[in-house]
Each structure stands twice: as structure tokens, then as C-alpha cells.
Subunit: 217 residues, 2 copies
């Protein structure tokens, strides 16, 4: 169950198995390596070996694999279930503040990599996080296996960078830019609008002052 | 209705009137300048002049002032109703990011002053906001008339700085430190825990992946 114990050609076949398994009707509860091999036109011995390397649940004799478990195992193995690592785009003041923030670890979270287009920042580290060239995003992000993207850019570049993230495996976006992001239905967007937060505090304060003043009315 | 049009001794008497008005029983709906002067042992002409300078509603002949309106007018005049200005303590990376954040203005909010203890930062500006010595807080903060405090310090100093804010007119705190703040019941605290926000996104992502995996179960 260690990526280094599996050959590169095997690793490249795993997403093919995963895609196929996801096309199966919900009524298909189990499947054998033989059936997967036949459906994809691959060598049966090879498929059996690939699946047993990637899946901890293992195929039961005659029964084959539970489709649900096999999907979960493949996703886990491929890092598709990595929900703790985030990448960050935009190393301005706010991005830098988030990179140097030490509180994420206590919640089991981590910013695994950061991206910017400023040559002065590329190659440096903040809070132990390396800042990569945004042009390397399509290679570095999938390699990290992160699915959470933190967007700390100016609003005018937010949508293009959001699209870039979604093209390369990001499924959830923490949006600190004030831009409204257009995303497909299955993408999670959490808008962190600092101005609105401060305005809400102001609103609560006004209400409290009204109530206090009202004591004498 | 302009502070410069009122004498300093008058300005110093206004909070005395305000305190007195707040002690009146709720059944007291109106009060005359004569009654206020008598209760506080002050010159009637002086009180009449002070109140008419500070209150836009004005005393009606025979009726006197509405107590509720007079309290609101005095608070407004004294800047007690300033709910749009905030001060910030702790000009680290995050504090600096908030000072240079341009989005607050759109919500009518403003960071009016910042405080730190770093001699390299004191006297400089970020985002047009001056950074003052934290030792000057007791003078500068009440002068600003701000009632919202933004706390962007390390957790170990958070409570002491929170106490300092409350001693000098802050009524609502936006707490970015991860410390739990002990405050009286009438103080508003809005905890901005960035780690928890990121952990919530992770949780939503996990749920979404479970649901997507579950399509084949």
C-alpha cells in the first residue's frame, strides 16, 4: 500500500480502473479483476496485480471486489481523498499571512504549496511553504494531490485562477478575493469576505447601542 | 452641531449629562434643562446652552427634551455611536494584510489606527493607516472614538490587549488570535478562527467525496 511499491505503468492504469468503476450501474455491488480486465481489454494477471497493490480490502475468492470499497481504495491510493492539504495562489500580504499562520496544523490542515507570478517570490519559502511559479501549477498541483485551493489574489485575476485550479484537481476553493466565482455545481466555494465580517460586527454593535439607549425610552 | 463650536468645558460636561440621563427611570420620558441643572447643581443657562449645542432635536418649550432623543444626540455628538471605525492591535503579517486590504471601504468601514510595540513599525503607515506605539493606546484610541477593535496578535498577549481595549472604549472585538477571550456580557466578540474555517472546508469536501463515492454503493 505504498506508492513506491507499484510500477509507473501500473500507477497510470489505476485512474483508468477508477473511471470504469464509476460508470458501473449502482446495482453492480461486486466485480472481479477478470471482469475489469475484460471490460478494458487489459491483461487479467496485470489487472489482478494492480488492484491487489492498490486495494487494502482485497478481492475475495469467487466474490471479487466490493465496487464501493475498491473505488474508495483507489481514490485513497491515488490521493484523491486527500482532504487535508491545500494549495494557495497569490502570495501578497494576505497570502503571506496565511502561509506563516501556525494554527492550521492544530486542525490537521496544511498548506502544501503556494504559487505566484512574482520572480522575487518564486523559489522562496514562507512558513516553510515553497512558492512556485504559477506557470508550473499544472504539474505541481496534481503532484501534491491537494483538492483545496486558497485564492488570495486581486479580484480581477480570480476567475482565471479559479478555472486553472479546477482544471488541475481542486474541488474546494477558499476565496479571499472579493470576486464572485463561477464554478460547476459540484465545486465547493467558501467566500471569506473580510469586509462583510467587519460590517457584521458594526451591525451587531449598532444593535447593542440601540438596545442600551432603548433602556431609557 | 460641530465639536469645534463648543467650548472645552462644555465638552467635558456632556458625558456628565449623559450619565445622569441614563440613571433616570424609564418612566421619565421628557426632561428640561432646568431639571438637569438642578439635579447636577449646575448653572441653568450653561446647561441650556450645552444641551442646545449638542442636541439637534432641541428642547420644546414647556415640554423639555425627549430623554431618549437627548441620550442619542449626546452619544452621537460625543462619538459614542461611531460604529464604522475600527482600531487594530498587532501589525504582524495578518495585521498588515488587513491594513492594506482595500475592501473595507466598500462596506463603509475603516481601520482608523493601528498599534504595535515594534519600534521599526511605530510611526510608519500601511494602507494609509498610521501605526502607533501600543503605549499610546490609552490616549489615541479614545481620541479616535472607535468602538471596534481588531486583535491580530499572538494568543499569549491576546487577553491583556483585549483588557486594554475594553478599558479605553472598545465594545466589539474581531479576534484573529486563537486565544479564547474573557469579556463581560455586554461586549461583542467575533472569533475569526482561520484554521477552523479551513477545517470546515475540508469537512465539506470529505462529505462531497463520500456522497460521490456512494453513488456506486
Amino acid at each position: 500500500m505504498d506508492k513506491s511499491s507499484i510500477s509507473k505503468p501500473s500507477l497510470r492504469r489505476l485512474p483508468v480502473y477508477l473511471s470504469y468503476l464509476k460508470t458501473l450501474p449502482p446495482s453492480t455491488r461486486t466485480i472481479s479483476a477478470t471482469a475489469v480486465a475484460a471490460a478494458l481489454g487489459l491483461n487479467e494477471v496485470q489487472v489482478r496485480k494492480d488492484l491487489s497493490a492498490a486495494s487494502s480490502s482485497g478481492g475475495r475468492p469467487k466474490m471479487g471486489y466490493s465496487v464501493e470499497e475498491l473505488i474508495a481504495d483507489l481514490e485513497e491510493f491515488l490521493g484523491y481523498r486527500n482532504t487535508k492539504d491545500a494549495i494557495l495562489i497569490g502570495v501578497g500580504r494576505l497570502g503571506g499571512a496565511l502561509l506563516s499562520f501556525t494554527g492550521f496544523q492544530a486542525c490537521g490542515m496544511r498548506i502544501a504549496a503556494a504559487f505566484d507570478n512574482d520572480p522575487m517570490k518564486i523559489g522562496t519559502c514562507i512558513g516553510g511553504v515553497q512558492i512556485h511559479d504559477i506557470l508550473d501549477f499544472p504539474i505541481v498541483c496534481p503532484h501534491m494531490g491537494a483538492h483545496i485551493g486558497i485564492l488570495t489574489t486581486s479580484p480581477e485575476h480570480a476567475q482565471a485562477l479559479c478555472d486553472l485550479m479546477l482544471e488541475h484537481g481542486i474541488l474546494a476553493i477558499w476565496n479571499f478575493s472579493t470576486a464572485h466565482l463561477e464554478v460547476p455545481d459540484n465545486i465547493i466555494v467558501h467566500n471569506e469576505n473580510l469586509a462583510v465580517s467587519l460590517a457584521m460586527i458594526s451591525h451587531d454593535l449598532e444593535e447593542m447601542l440601540d438596545k442600551e439607549g432603548g433602556k431609557n425610552s
